[in-house]
């Protein structure tokens, strides 16, 4: 175990020079001048253009694919189908990934790739696609997960049996991948202590991550099978390992260079174009670029799971929550891998609960395979929990934040998934929310205010990085974790802080997969924490080496040298009267000492501090149309320590607005034919600038003692409570809380009519 994991050296009294400031991001200059290279900005000499042919059917056998006419078209250099992919067993990780990349026995959703063409121009590639003849045997389809669970639903996979089920049902053909029960105590007994019980059902819709940059990659396969791949990814090493698995390649023969990432939010943790571009390049013996269209992004890259949930909680008159019970159904697309197990682990993890029962299901249906998104699968469950919590508070006449404070977990809490928390900042977050200007100000007339809390584990994991000291005393950092919003700068800041040098003397770059050891995906709010640990560890190694070199230069014992503010100095006057040696002084003399100085670190990082947040939102609802307008929004969240406060604010604001979109408008609309009807930015309604107000932020800093600067990940938490907070605010405004996402004007208008009929509509 690396020393830094044991002794991170967090010092609450440390005065920072760089941490906590918000210098201009070094990568920003190329981004404001148009010079930053995103995936589609790569061009190679002789490069071909690749395009996909996709299934028009949501569910069908693929009987025959005739590519002969396409192959004969002038300018077509390669055509790829299932026959070009190694055969892997269905129902295995590799088998599923291969079939998502290219349909094999069946197509499982409208947009499932069935063939691809590489040609000298996009025009010719598109022409060639029209010459491919696919013989389908169309099958009945099922889109809705609840319908997919019904006894006579069309079965997607004959081999599928529900994991976690015993008895006769265990052997039945099914669309239910898994039944997972996660419980503590005895919920049934717990409810007996309750004075008030609230229970509701909820549904949430798949939303798309909505990154503005469509997936794109350039593959170049040499005659001896060496693959070079440029692509936008949050996970270069994960891509490499999965590509080697489904294409049967050696890892040594594939080198992936990540480009600037034009938004990912979890959606670029899975490949789409890459395996196909590689096969096309191999066949065509030329570089191939494949860029998805927006329609393809919407129809065939992973959105987020939609859910059906039921949540029940009970509390005593004094506000103590005594039990919780929930059933959750997660839609995953045609293959397993929704990360649904996050939901039962995280959904109640804010409250001190002795009795909890959760039963979760993952269900396949004929829609694109879901992918990760900020706090995967958690916001959907929180949408219900935070409604029930607020309603309990209301029923016993308690302020919603006080109610949450009464039940809030703190250091020493043992979670439902077995982890015992060290210092966490939930209570501090709730207190900061109560004290903030937004919460203290009265709710404006005619508006409704909602609050909701969110939680995310925050992650660590395998991470590798190198810090190099140049002869002029400047520093470059080689990172393996993709930079989704500014982490390179945060790494430069952390190194600069440790060295005590200006941040402009440090630069960070993103490595290709040959240049560093394994790095886990940038996801789960792990990067600034994990790569930060690596950078600080490597920096400390360099500092130790600098002191050794100084000792050698001065001819004194190593413990006679100290390092501060970028200089080695004698530890005391007893050591000798030496002029301090700067990093440059030492680095420029490495020829005479022991060669170049660099620090490398690799570890399975642990100690990520969990994150908690609370959102406050005021909404106005047009009672004649059901239109909801966000009037004021505040995100309060614990960052542990904000390395760059403006970047942290940006995470809070961006997460909240994504959540607002999911809350109000974003959804996948399918016709009875199983085809997606809103595959574009026009009808998949993401928030535009005029839809939202400024998003206020309160950065709470309860340091994570396991990190040298105390930081916690901040990227996931901001979306976890948003839909719940908006829903609660609408509920306050119109008298009935919406429980189906998105909370569109037609749905809200119906609730207004219902509230009016029941006398629940508040008087303005």
């Amino acid at each position: 175990m690396s020393a830094i994991l044991e002794k991170p050296g967090f010092n609450p009294d440390r005065k920072y020079k760089i941490i906590g400031t918000s210098p201009v991001k070094h990568d920003g200059f190329d981004k404001v001048t148009g010079r930053a290279k995103f995936a589609a900005d790569f061009f190679l000499p002789g490069m071909l253009i690749g395009k996909f042919l996709r299934s028009p059917h949501p569910h069908a056998f693929v009987r025959k694919i005739d590519v002969s006419r396409a192959e004969k078209l002038a300018g077509v250099k390669a055509v790829v189908t299932r026959d070009d992919f190694p055969e892997l067993k269905p129902g295995t990780g590799g088998g599923d990934m291969s079939r998502i990349a290219m349909a094999r026995e069946k197509v499982y959703w409208e947009g499932h790739p069935v063939a691809a063409v590489a040609a000298v121009s996009e025009t010719i590639a598109r022409k060639a696609l029209k010459l491919i003849k696919v013989d389908y045997e169309v099958l009945p389809h099922v889109i809705d997960p609840v319908a997919a669970m019904a006894p006579n639903a069309p079965i997607l996979h004959d081999y599928l049996r529900t994991k976690g089920v015993k008895g006769p049902d265990a052997e039945k053909k099914t669309n239910v991948v898994e039944r997972l029960e996660l419980s503590v105590g005895d919920a049934e007994e717990g409810f007996k202590e309750a004075d008030v019980v609230v229970e509701h059902t909820y549904d949430t819709k798949p939303m798309h991550q909505g990154y503005i940059e469509p997936q794109s990659s350039v593959a170049n396969v040499s005659e001896d099978g060496q693959v070079e791949l440029w692509c936008c990814t949050q996970a270069p090493w994960v891509y490499r390992d999965r590509l080697t698995e489904i294409l049967k390649l050696d890892s040594a023969k594939i080198r992936i260079q990540q480009s600037e990432l034009g938004g990912g939010f979890g959606g670029k943790t899975t490949f789409y174009t890459e395996p196909v571009a590689i096969l096309l390049s191999k066949k065509a013996k030329a570089p191939v670029k494949m860029t998805l269209t927006r329609v393809e992004v919407m129809k065939a890259t992973g959105p987020v799971s939609g859910t059906q949930t039921r949540t029940k909680m009970g509390c005593k008159k004094d506000g103590t929550i005594v039990a919780a019970d929930s059933e959750l159904i997660f839609q995953t697309g045609p293959y397993t891998g929704s990360a649904f197990t996050n939901a039962p682990q995280a959904m109640f993890t804010r409250y001190e609960l002795k009795n909890v029962k959760t039963v979760s299901y993952e269900v396949v249906s004929n829609r694109p395979k879901v992918s990760s998104f900020r706090a995967p699968c958690v916001p959907q469950a929180v949408f219900g929990v935070e409604d029930v919590v607020s309603e309990l508070a209301k029923k016993i006449g308690m302020d919603p934040i006080d109610f949450r404070l009464k039940n809030a977990i703190k250091e020493g809490h043992k979670t439902i998934y077995g982890e015992t928390f060290t210092k966490i900042g939930f209570i501090e977050t709730l207190e900061a929310a109560k004290a903030c200007d937004h919460y203290k100000s009265p709710v404006p007339k005619g508006q409704g205010r909602g609050v909701a809390c969110g939680f995310w584990f925050n992650r660590g994991g395998e991470t590798t990085g190198t810090v190099n000291l140049a002869p002029d005393g400047t520093v470059n950092i080689i990172l393996g974790t993709a930079d989704v919003a500014g982490s390179r700068m945060s790494m430069s800041m952390m190194a600069a802080e440790e060295f005590g040098i200006p941040v402009d003397r440090v630069r960070s770059i993103l490595a290709d997969t040959h240049s560093l050891g394994y790095n886990r995906v940038t996801a789960g709010s792990r990067t600034t924490f994990s790569s930060g640990m690596i950078v600080v560890d490597a920096t400390r190694k360099i500092i130790a080496e600098l002191t050794r070199r100084a000792a050698k230069i001065w001819g004194v014992p190593e413990d006679g040298v100290i390092f501060e503010d970028g200089h080695c100095r004698p530890a005391s006057s007893n050591v000798g009267n030496f002029e301090p040696l700067s990093m440059k002084d030492i680095a420029s003399k490495t020829t005479y000492t022991m060669g170049a100085i660099s620090g490398h670190s690799e570890m399975n990082v642990t100690g990520a501090g969990p994150g908690f947040g609370l959102h406050i939102v005021d909404v106005k609802v047009d009672r004649e149309t059901g239109l909801t307008q966000i009037m004021r929004y505040t995100v309060v969240e614990d960052a542990g320590k904000a390395i760059s406060p403006m970047q942290v604010e940006g995470q809070y604001q961006g997460g909240a607005v994504q959540g607002i979109g999911w809350a109000l408008n974003e959804e996948y609309i399918y016709g009875a034919d199983g085809k997606l009807q809103n595959a574009g930015f026009l009808d998949y309604r993401m928030p535009v600038a005029s839809d939202v107000p400024m998003i206020d932020t309160v950065i709470v800093e309860v340091p994570n003692p396991k990190h040298p600067f105390g930081l916690r990940g901040v990227g996931e938490v901001p979306v976890t409570p948003t839909m719940a907070a908006v829903g609660n605010a609408i509920g306050e405004c119109i008298g009935i809380r919406p429980r189906s996402l998105p909370m569109t004007p037609p749905k809200v208008l119906k609730l207004i009519e219902e509230a009016e009929a029941k006398g629940l509509l508040p008087k303005h």
Binding site: Y211, I212, R294, G680
Partner: protein, 159 residues
Amino acid sequence: MSKKHHLAMNVNGDDYEFLCETHQSLLDVLRDELMLTGTKEGCATGDCGACSVTLDGRLACSCLVLAVECEGAKIGTIEGMARGDVLHPLQRNFLELNGLQCGICTPGILIAARSLLERNPDPSETEIRYWLAGNLCRCTGYDKIIRSVQAAAKEMRGA
């Protein structure tokens, strides 16, 4: 084989000649023929604004203009926004106020914002938000974009 069109246009003050097919958009030509890749493609249907340029002084989506329509046109792209070493105040304020995260929407937003400030040097927050409604950003939640435009406008007014 069909013949391509031979056209000339001016981009950021420089004259370019190029060949294109009829269906190729101005965006396609800027990126694939002239290698000016600062202009981005997010949707190719005019719904995201990532491809925003000025066309004879007007803000437009380059994906919604065919290149064949551009004979003799004057195009302004992100590559022409800075003057030598000096960044445009919008560019500098976006950097200083963190008006960008991933940066894919940034060129389009900067071009759109410049076009706004040329018409209206003192826009209200609402005016900025509505003018930029055609430019999607998924990272920032717009807050810091709006603040960056406000700060640049203030600076440019000399206020």
